[in-house]
Symmetry: C2
Subunit: 300 residues, 2 copies
Amino acid sequence: MGEIYECIPNYSVGKDEETIEQIAGCFDDQEGVNLVDYSADEDHNRLVVTAIGSPDGLIKSCLESVRVAVDKIDMNEHTGEHPRMGAVDVVPFVPVKNATMEDAVDVARSLAEKIGGHFDIPVYLYEKAATSLDRENLADIRRGEYEGFSDKISKEEWMPDFGPGKVHPTAGVTAVGARKPLIAFNVNLKTDDLSVAKKISRRVRHSSGGFRYCKAMAVDLDEDNLTQVSMNMTDYSKTPLHHVYELIKSEADRYGVDVVESEIIGITPADALLDAAGHYLQLNDFSSEQVIENRLLEDL
Amino acid sequence: MGEIYECIPNYSVGKDEETIEQIAGCFDDQEGVNLVDYSADEDHNRLVVTAIGSPDGLIKSCLESVRVAVDKIDMNEHTGEHPRMGAVDVVPFVPVKNATMEDAVDVARSLAEKIGGHFDIPVYLYEKAATSLDRENLADIRRGEYEGFSDKISKEEWMPDFGPGKVHPTAGVTAVGARKPLIAFNVNLKTDDLSVAKKISRRVRHSSGGFRYCKAMAVDLDEDNLTQVSMNMTDYSKTPLHHVYELIKSEADRYGVDVVESEIIGITPADALLDAAGHYLQLNDFSSEQVIENRLLEDL
């Protein structure tokens, strides 16, 4: 098996069923690509596709989807709760198997160059693929959004990495990047008091003193009288799920609140959970070579 | 990816390096087969090979290895601590991916028929492949060993499933079977008092009242002043590793003894550890479809 990546492109369409299906379809019938999931949100007016596959297959699928998005989406008519700057808003690549982060950066650059060249869309490289420090953070690139980008792009420090120095009149601009796998990990608390979930979220997240690779916010789960610590784990190899879980449990306990359950939304690398099992079972000297599935992926 | 099995053939050779290498080599250069491990024990005078692969590849490798074993091993000159009845003593198949236990039984039958036909070796089907209840347990088939088999085979109830009704003069008889994956799971205790490990082993193992799919014995780890509860988990889906681990910890605690570490020897299906992670993290509604590696094995 060659290099395998996860690719999670985001498009500025959340209501037009036909366009949504057409974009998702670009990842469905492609050789070497597996469409894992796609979900559109009407309030955000945004579509998120998750696919895994070979670099060639994913780049082909992405380019086909850009063609559909350019055809069907007019950013001048787009409104939604989620910040955005283009019809194809952002395309991150995540190394999954037999690929390093440097390989993922190469794939991102290759796609970025093609989008810029074939579709006359300005493209910015971000996160691990960024060409300068002030382009690492996607939020910095996106600041000003589609409406403000005509001014922004004329500044020398915001010259795009690929494509023209001028916003595409209907498709805006696009960011392509490489990053670590992100795990959406939620822990549900047996209380309808949102202030407890808020206090715990502040304790676990990086921005207020918690774990380096954890983003967290409190969410009210009205229907079940529960509240949730909703998290994005941005590097499970350095901030393990089980450390975050244990801290949440201990903090909840301090408020007399039980943890009801946790959940992982979407896909996860097996390693994130194998690490947790190893921790709790006190597994010594365990190697991922000992997992049959990893043998199959490497050797057959 | 088609059907994938684990195959763990055992041969009655533990000292003759050349024969050991030649047998292992049959699994090393075969298309569709991955040699995971092989280890020979001089006291047992026995070689255990672990391989994973396609049914066709594994059957080819097995047949090549039977040819070597028949050529090189004379059971009349074989002695060792481990009970045995043939040069190729036992060949179990374990369904790993895209295969049911019924499929594994078919593969076992197919190999058994070929060994019986091509090499004039009587073959017995055992465990899930057994043709009658009294042939399910390998120990029942092997009772009497090589030396006693000429008498045993002449009894109607011990007529072999394939091959001649007469023991092969140098290669003896062979058992071929299908079974669930077995996980070798050990838990080390911070005491040199073997009686504690013995008492705990009796608590966790099936034969003395413990878990249905757990075999356990106490082992002295002289060099480290530790003792060990050494286990074979014969169906992790019904007797999970974490239940056994927790009981061992709780029993050890009762004797004032700490658990130092645990270990898995050899290979394991990822699911055994994913289940443990799910238990400790209170993961709700988690499906193995959410694991990227499983997606890759199923769909690419």
